[in-house]
Structures are given as structure tokens and as C-alpha cells.
Amino acid sequence: MTATSFVRHLSPSWYESSARDRVRILLDAGTFEEFIGPEQRETSPHLGIFDLPRQFDDGIVVGRGRLDGKPAFIAAQEGRFMGGAFGEVHGAKLTGLLRAARDARTIPVLILFDTGGVRLQEANAGELAIAEIMRALIEARRAGARVIGLIGGRAGCYGGGGLLAGCCSALAVSEHGRIAVSGPEVIETNRGVEEFDSRDRGLVWRTMGGKNRRLIGGADAFADDTIDSFRAAALHLIERAPAFGLDMLKAEQARLADRLERFGTCADGLDIWKQQGIADATSVPAMSTETFIEVANRIEEPRHDAR
């Protein structure tokens, strides 16, 4: 066992870590400065109506620090508080951060998504928050800032979070990560179990999970379930993320049209992977990270100028 792999095995699990721990360990040691931290007690003004407990940071940690010596803005959702869902204060913290990134121009933003989407108890505020975050995110990108999404937590990246992920300059996802608009239960409730059996975990992961997203081009990098691995992925993606503009949007239109043409009649993730030329598509879910990354890089589905 080499020294490097030994160190890697000590890096905490991304999935098991709290938002605070992800931020503290991902950034260079001791460099994190939080904005509107828990001691400010800026909690949700709406949860009390439902007799629901508040969290002092309203479920998101935002601030700045250094990544490999260079400044970075960072926001991390706590997926275990209200499912990481966007509420009024939660969303506004991220909106403000992205507006700052727009004005600063040269500081990248890391968004550690861990969200079920909009917080229903504050539905209108949450939906608005997502729209405002989206606008601020695009403004930041147009000003030259890179916005990197990292997805691998308990709540996944659903609903409005999925749309925000699609607006990022680049995305890293782990095996645990899921990205979608409608969640498995929502599809099943609305369309029936024949359309989607939400309890079929294999189906959920083949459809929305990190590996399918990486292979189909919905994410740009695949990470191990460690904070270390996500840190490396973030550093890699900051350098490679495309600029935002008409050329990029046209390239994205082309890659999405191409995806529909090639995979539009596929019934399952397995069919997509078969069509991509993966020798044994059924082996994908069980593939180790190293093997999977090799396979994904060979297929090279995402175009790095088209997100």
C-alpha cells in the first residue's frame, strides 16, 4: 500500500459528513470564514407556523476560504435538516454569495448540493430563491466566475436543486449522488408504480444516480465518496470549466439534441450504456471507482465547452 492510498483511506466519507465538516475539510486547513454563521441566529421565519424546529444556519453554510492557496467562495447544504431543502433564508444566503462572485469576477464558487428541492412549508419563497440563485449564478458565470457543483450527499440533488446543478460551470458526482427534477416517489405517486417503482434502488440509481449522470454527460467528473476526492475533482474542474456565452449555449443545444437522438428510445440506463459500447453494461453499478473513471473517460460523453 503506498503512502498516498493510505492517506486517501483516512479521508472522511463525503456522504456521512455534515455540511460543516465537508467545508472545513475540503478547504485548506484553517482558512474558512463563515458569513451569517449560526451565532447570528438568522433562522426561518416560517417554520414556527408548522411547529417545526429551526436550525441556526437554516441548513446552509456559506463563506469563503482557500482551495490550494487560492480564494474560493463556498456554500454547503445540510441534507439532514429539512432534507436540505431551499427555504427563504437558506436560499438568500446562496443568492448573496453568488452576487458577490459576480462582482468579484475571479473567485470560483463551490456549491455542495444536498437537497430535495424546495422546502414545501415555504414553497413560494423556496421556488423564488431558486429562481434568484439561478439568475445570480448566470450573472456570476457571465462575469467570469466558475461555479462548481459537488453532489454526493444523503438528500441527492433534486427538484430546483437539479436545475441549479444544470446551470453550474461543471459538476462532480459520486456513486451516492443522484440528480433529477422529480424524485422517485413523486413519479410513482403521479404516474404509478409501473412507470417508476421508487423502492427499486437499482432502478433509482441507474436512472438518476452518479454513474449514469457521468456516463450520459450530466456530470463532468466522478469522485470517490471521500472529501479528499471531491476536493481533487473541484480543483480539476475549476481549470476546465467552460466560459458562459452564446457559443456555449449553442454547443449545449447540440449535445442535448445529440443525446435525444442517440438515447431517446432507451428504456433503461443499461440500454444507454450498452449503446455507448460498454462491454458489460450490467457491471457498471458494481464497478470500482478507478475502473468506472477509466470507462467514463474513454466514452468522454460530456463536452467541456457545452454546459
Binding site: I36, P45, H46, F50, V62, R64, E88, V89, G91, A92, K93, T95, G96, L97, R99, A100, D103, A104, L120, Q121, E122, A123, N124, A125, E127, L128, A131, M134, E139, R142, G159, G160, G162, L163, A165, G166, A180, V181, S182, I187, T189, R191, E195, F196, T207, R213, G217, G218, F244, L246, L249, E252, Q253, L256, L260, F263, G264, C266, A267, D268
Partner: protein
């Protein structure tokens, strides 16, 4: 108002907006002599991968041609299409792409106006109506993040309890008034007056940053968002 009535009031001199598979595209003349590009969703059509891509394509085609006029997004949609296929193919990227195209067009100077004349919900709401700079609605329009019965199911609260709580706050229940108070909907147009005139008046207003949070604060629908965003923004830009 029906779609036909909306179009007739927007463009009394005629227009070339066509409808195909639930999607609208075309253009029409403005009072001031300019021309407005029109895209939209009609007949409560769900927004799936093909629909999002098609609408985005229209926006991009205009930008490529060098159109610098405003873009009007007419909305009577369902939510996003809820299907295994759409999610398998990465619906989040398609909806995000449409929103990016609209926001980019607006920031290039093509004032995007959303006109909600029917329904919309959830992901479709964000990718169309909420991705415009100025969102207006006609009386009777029914935007929703989620319908109340589904909310009741997910939150495990009886629907009559939800309805009761909705009387004391505009922050979660569906409806035009709530979306206006929280700052999402700029104004509700008068269906008895010319929509062409109201559109022209809106377009004549100077462009602005996204001020929905400030509007929500003024209208007392969202008491904290504007201040929190401003505080974080200012803290983040302080020298280290």
C-alpha cells in the same frame, strides 16, 4: 382569457405565432414599431426534454440572427413531465438549458417578459416564467409550486390544516396573490385593457437587476430574503 383572446389583444394587427404539440413560437408587432419574439407553452402541456429543447432552440435562433428585441414567454403549462424517460435522459439539464438561454438573452438586452395566462408548476415554473426578467399574469392564472393535496401528502398534514395556515401567510400556498406578494409576479394585468398597451408600458421601463427579493420585502411576503442576500454579498466582498 383564452390563448386566442390573449394573442388578439397583444397583437390586434396580427401576428405569426403558431402552436405545435403544445408549444408556441413566432413573433408579433409592438406599439412602438418594434417586434417581439414569442415562445410559450399552451394547453397545460407538461414540459419534458423535447419541449424544453425546442423552446430553447427558438431563443437561440433569434440570438444567432442578431435579434435584439424583447422576448415574450406565454405560459399555460403543467409541471415538468414526470416520467422515467425524461429523468433518465437528464431533464434537469434540459430545463436548466432553457432557463440559461432565456437569462442569457435578457442579459444581452432582449428584455424577457413572462405572461402567465393559465397554469404552471414546479420545474416548469422555474424554467419558463421565473427565468424571465419581468413576470406578469392575467387574472385567473394559477401558478403553483405544488398543488395543496400533494403538499398535504408530503408534509403529512391534513389539507384543512394547510388551508387554515395558508390564511395567515402567503409563503407556501399556490395562487397568484401569494406569488405576487412574495415578489415572483410583478403585476396582474387588466384583461379589459389592451394587452398590447400594457406590454409596451412594461417594455418602456428601464432594465433592472433582479429585484424580486426587494419586491417581496416591500409587499411583506418575504421579510428576510433581501436583507440576508445583501448582508452575505457585502461580507463576501470585504477585503480579507
Amino acid at each position: 382569457m383564452t390563448l386566442a383572446e390573449v394573442l388578439a389583444s397583444l397583437f390586434p394587427a396580427g401576428h405569426d405565432v403558431v402552436q405545435a404539440r403544445g408549444l408556441l413560437s413566432g413573433s408579433g408587432p409592438l406599439n412602438d414599431g418594434g417586434r417581439v419574439t414569442v415562445i410559450g407553452v399552451a394547453d397545460r402541456t407538461p414540459l419534458g426534454v423535447e419541449e424544453a429543447l425546442s423552446l430553447a432552440g427558438h431563443v437561440l435562433a433569434g440570438l444567432e440572427k442578431g435579434d435584439d428585441g424583447p422576448i415574450l414567454v406565454l405560459i399555460d403549462s403543467d409541471s415538468q413531465r414526470m416520467s422515467k424517460r425524461d429523468e433518465l435522459l437528464g431533464l434537469n439539464e434540459f430545463l436548466a438549458h432553457l432557463a440559461k438561454c432565456l437569462i442569457h438573452a435578457d442579459m444581452q438586452g432582449c428584455h424577457t417578459v413572462g405572461l402567465l395566462y393559465g397554469h404552471t408548476a414546479a420545474g416548469a415554473f422555474i424554467a419558463t416564467a421565473m427565468a424571465t426578467r419581468s413576470l406578469v399574469a392575467l387574472p385567473g392564472a394559477a401558478p403553483a409550486v405544488m398543488d395543496l393535496p400533494s403538499m398535504a401528502r408530503v408534509t403529512k398534514l391534513p389539507i384543512d390544516i394547510l388551508e387554515e395556515k395558508a390564511r395567515s401567510t402567503p409563503v407556501f400556498a399556490p395562487g397568484l396573490e401569494n406569488l405576487a406578494r412574495t415578489g415572483a409576479v410583478l403585476a396582474v394585468w387588466d384583461e379589459k385593457r389592451s394587452l398590447a398597451d400594457q406590454l409596451q408600458a412594461l417594455l418602456d421601463q428601464p432594465g433592472t437587476d433582479d429585484r424580486r427579493d426587494r419586491l417581496g420585502k416591500e409587499r411583506k411576503g418575504r421579510p428576510k430574503a433581501a436583507d440576508i442576500a445583501e448582508r452575505v454579498h457585502d461580507l463576501a466582498l470585504r477585503p480579507q
